[in-house]
Symmetry: C2
Subunit: 371 residues, 2 copies
Amino acid sequence: MFSFNVISQSQDCLARTGVIETTHGKIETPIFMPVGTLGSVKSVTPEELLACGAQIILGNTYHLYLRPGCDIIDLFSGLHRFMHWQGPILTDSGGFQLFSLAKLAKITEEGYAFQSHLDGSSHLLSPEKSMEVQFCLDSDIIMCLDQCTRYPADRDEALKALELTTRWARRCKTVWEKNKTGGALFGIVQGGMHKELRKKSLADLMEIEFPGYAVGGLSVGEPKDLMREMSAWTIPRLPEHLPRYIMGVGTPEDIVELVGMGADMFDCVIPTRNARNGQLFTHAGTINICNSRFKYDTNPVDSGCTCYTCMNYSRAYLRHLYQARELLAYRLNTLHNLHYYLDLAKQIRAAIQGDRYETFKREFYDKRQSG
Amino acid sequence: MFSFNVISQSQDCLARTGVIETTHGKIETPIFMPVGTLGSVKSVTPEELLACGAQIILGNTYHLYLRPGCDIIDLFSGLHRFMHWQGPILTDSGGFQLFSLAKLAKITEEGYAFQSHLDGSSHLLSPEKSMEVQFCLDSDIIMCLDQCTRYPADRDEALKALELTTRWARRCKTVWEKNKTGGALFGIVQGGMHKELRKKSLADLMEIEFPGYAVGGLSVGEPKDLMREMSAWTIPRLPEHLPRYIMGVGTPEDIVELVGMGADMFDCVIPTRNARNGQLFTHAGTINICNSRFKYDTNPVDSGCTCYTCMNYSRAYLRHLYQARELLAYRLNTLHNLHYYLDLAKQIRAAIQGDRYETFKREFYDKRQSG
């Protein structure tokens, strides 16, 4: 079961709201998806994710395939029951992890031949294998195995990668059609920083036909302006009636901008990873909780924030916990940052529904400059 | 405000139930107090502590004095608001930490002269200073600064330590009477493993008169049998109408035994520290969640346990989280172990109230042998 409906469309930009329906529940878009690499969003529980406003989370196929492995997750009929998250789950294909751990992987027509980063054992992640693992995880949104293009990459390199991605996408579609589970299969647009290659990649994938499309290969080291330029060029060309997912993006500003280009879904480790490094998001910009100016600060992280952390703890306390490396620090910081991202998505949806997205954006940037 | 009333007394042993009333709330005894060394019970929130059945927690004066320091905690009028725990707090005196970090401390009549384990700065923890810090923490139960006797210690060494402890106790009482806050001051019985010295220590402290008495210097390396023997000898001699607190004890079995000797209060890092090492308590004994026999185990840690962890997660999942060093592992394990200890205290109270403590003990040991 999978559907997507556009609910409202801004008049003065490409931003839109929508609803995705999956076997495990509804998702209102635009949405941010917290990353739960190994079967937990680090330090927090599913109940807390819900309280932060999470509607869908992401699991990493590469990591979960290696540990705990499909034989264990099969005992629970998928990732949902294993990790006690009842809502929708999107799983990546494993391709991006093998791209970033490239030293351990060799790409052939067949797939990624790689050694486990855990024990050095040899594996082959083919499009078919990636599908099999994602079926086992009972994923609600399944991603095609792709080859991400590194930055910088010349036209030839980018073309080769996108063509392989297309051939793999076709193989993924074949397996998916045969084994039709409840999950939807998304194609991933590649093409590096070459606009006509992005166009070609999209056209090729649209011929195969997917229930949703993602843009991959962004935020891989390119300058911010180039990322935005490629997004502005690519996103509006994705089919309007299908969900558009921008992979691995980004900062709050990136999300605000890319929503304006018509993006619906985002995932990124920034809120969770930065939390564990003491970097907290506020309406007036980012703060580092370690900073000595917070030593005697009895205020919450972000005035007006209604997250559990801000409702109950001060900057002075959070700084103390972080300095003392108390486990609770990582958790309270993570809750705040996730709430910030998910509340931002909520504000974005409200602004689009009220057809005041450009006003919202202006206010968003004004508040940051006041900080 | 502080009172203690014995509510029920076993007919066939010395176990009793009681109620302590403090400014921050009531405590039903016998009770176990989770340890929150640095202003958090590692990895868990106050709301979760309450859900586990916690009624009072412990803070460490030595650690909190060094970090974050009294100037910061003063801004919150004490530890309660700083750490968002509304219930009663017992603080130790700092003596035990300086005893276990002995290389850094020098004992004189004045107090402990020591170097901070954090930055090497020099400090003096006198009885007066310990009181001042505990007043700043707004502790509900304040402990006298004592000198703990190491094991083994001959009669002379133990005598010197207990005599210094008594002189310090008198100085603590003087400061406490002058600055009377809402917290009660407890004296600490020392005397090593020498029964007549334990008797002398207690007699000397009773002359000074405290609202409660603790037994210190147990579980410092002596054999289990000797600890139990000293407990059996000392605890029944503590004033019957006042709370009896056995410091730093212990295993579930220790608690079950010492309650039978008339003990009311316990604190120990075992449930929390062991949780972080993957050691989990069950009615049938302890398990190590890393054990490969749990790899495919879809059962909860302890069947019949109603803690958040057991209600929602399997041994296989907990083992996976622990193997992957996921932060959620420490938290779910801690919640389970704290629930185990606090539920044990609850069962103990119910058994005493029903005057079936000996039966309860027999069943407790029978279940463990079945495991």
